[in-house]
Amino acid sequence: MTDRDQNAVKIEALIEPFNKKGVAVTEATRFAQDLEWDSLTVMDFVASVEDEFDILISMNRAAEIETVEQLIDAVGQLQSER
C-alpha cells in the first residue's frame, strides 16, 4: 500500500462514526451534500483527522475540501509540509 492508500483507509475509518446516514463512502463522496454534515459535525471530524495525522487543518483550508478525495490529498500535503 502506498502512503496515500494508507491515509485513505484511515480517513474512511474516521468518517464512519459520523456517517449517521450509512452512506456508502467512496473518494467521490461529498461531505456537505452526500453525508449531510453540519458545521459542528465537520469541526468534530476535522479534529479527529488532526489527531490521527498530527496536522492542523484551519477552517479556511477545510472550506476548500469538498470530497473525500480532496481530504486525502490535503492530508498528504499537510504531512509533507510538516
Binding site: D38, S39, L40, M43, D44, A47, E50, D51, D54, I55, L56, S58, M59, N60, R61
Partner: protein, 400 residues
Amino acid sequence: MNDLFSKFDPVIALRESLLESGMTDPFNLVMEKVESPTVAICNGKRTILLGTYNYMGMTFDPDVIAAGKKALDEFGSGTTGSRVLNGTYSGHRECEEALKDFYAMDHAMVFSTGYQANLGIISTLAGKDDYIVLDIDSHASIYDGCALGKAQIVPFRHNDIEAMEKRLKRIPEGDGKLVVLEGVYSMLGDVAPLKEMVRVAKDNGAMVLVDEAHSMGFIGENGRGVAEAQGVIDDVDFIIGTFSKSVGTVGGFCVSNHPKFEILRLVCRPYVFTASLPPSVVATAATSIRKLMYSADKRAHLWENSKRLHAGLKQLGFKLGTDEPQSAIIAVLMPDLEAGAAMWEALLNEGLYVNLARPPATPANMTLLRCSLCALHTEEQVGEILGMFAAAGRATGCIS
C-alpha cells in the same frame, strides 16, 4: 438574468410558512412607546421587557439623559467625520478616559458599534499568515473580523479547554497566534472557563482577546466582566465591549495595556473609514460608564433576579440552557421553531417580550426563548413574569 436573490429562497419559504399559520411575525415587533428600561407599549398593550440587553437599566437614568441633552445643545447632533479627521470631540476623549478608569487599563479606543470593534480589532491584529483560535460559538462579528483580515481560523468545540489546547499546540512555531474568547456566550448565557483558557493561551505564546459584551457592568467585583471574576484580567491583552448593552446606548470599544496600542487608530480600517459617534451618544456613554463603577447594589439585585427566574422556570418544568444561572441571560429551550414561535406569541399576548432565537444564530440548531434580565426588574415583575410563563406554557402545551 440570474436573480441574485435566489439563494434566499429557503429562508423566504420558511418565513412564509410560519406566517401563513396566522402567527405574529416574531422578527417585526414595533414598540410604540417605551416607558422605562423594563416596560414598553407593544400593539397598544403594556409589555414587560425581558428580551433587551439593558442589563443595568441605564437608558432612562436621569444623569445619563441630562448629559446627552447637554451635549446635544453644546456640540450639535453629529460629528460628520472620522475619528482621525474632524470626528474627535472632547466627549470622545472623555468617554475613552471613562473606559480607562472603569477597566484600570492604559488605553481605550471607541468605535461606532460593538460589531465594528470586533471587526476592526480582530482584522487589524491578525492577517493572512496569522492564526486565530476561537470558540465555535463565537459571535458573527468575531467571524467577520477573521474574514476581513483573512486570518487562518482554527475553531474548537464550545468551552472545551482540551480541544483548544490541542489545536493551539499544532500551530507552526513562530506564527502569530490570537485566541479569541467571550466572557458570556449570549445564546445560552453560559460563562467561559477563562481562568484555564487564558493560562493555556499564554503558555502557548498566544495573545488573548476577550469579548465581554454580555458581562460588562455586573460580572466581576467592579463589573469588568468574567475575566475579572475569574482573576485573569491582567493576562488578557484586549477586552472588547459595547455601549449597547449595560451602558445603554450604542457604540463599541477595545481596552488594552499593550504599549503600542495607540497605533491602531491609524491602521484599523473600521475605525478610520466611518463617522464617529454623535456627541450626545458619547456623553451618555461616559456618564453611564462612570455610574456603573459604583453600582454594587444594582449588580446584587440583578443576580437575585437571575437566580429567582432561573429557579422559577426550572420548577415550572421548562428546559433551560444552563443548570445554574451564570449570567443575566436565561435561555429556555424549545423543541422546534414552530413551538418556539407559538410560545413567543403566547407570551406577548400575556404582556411579556422575550427574544426568539433560532438557527443559524443558535448553537446546535436550537430554538430558544432568550430571557435577559435587568437590574431594574422589580421583585413583583419577576413574579409576574413567572406567572406569564406558566400560563403561556400551559396554553401552548410546552409544559403540563
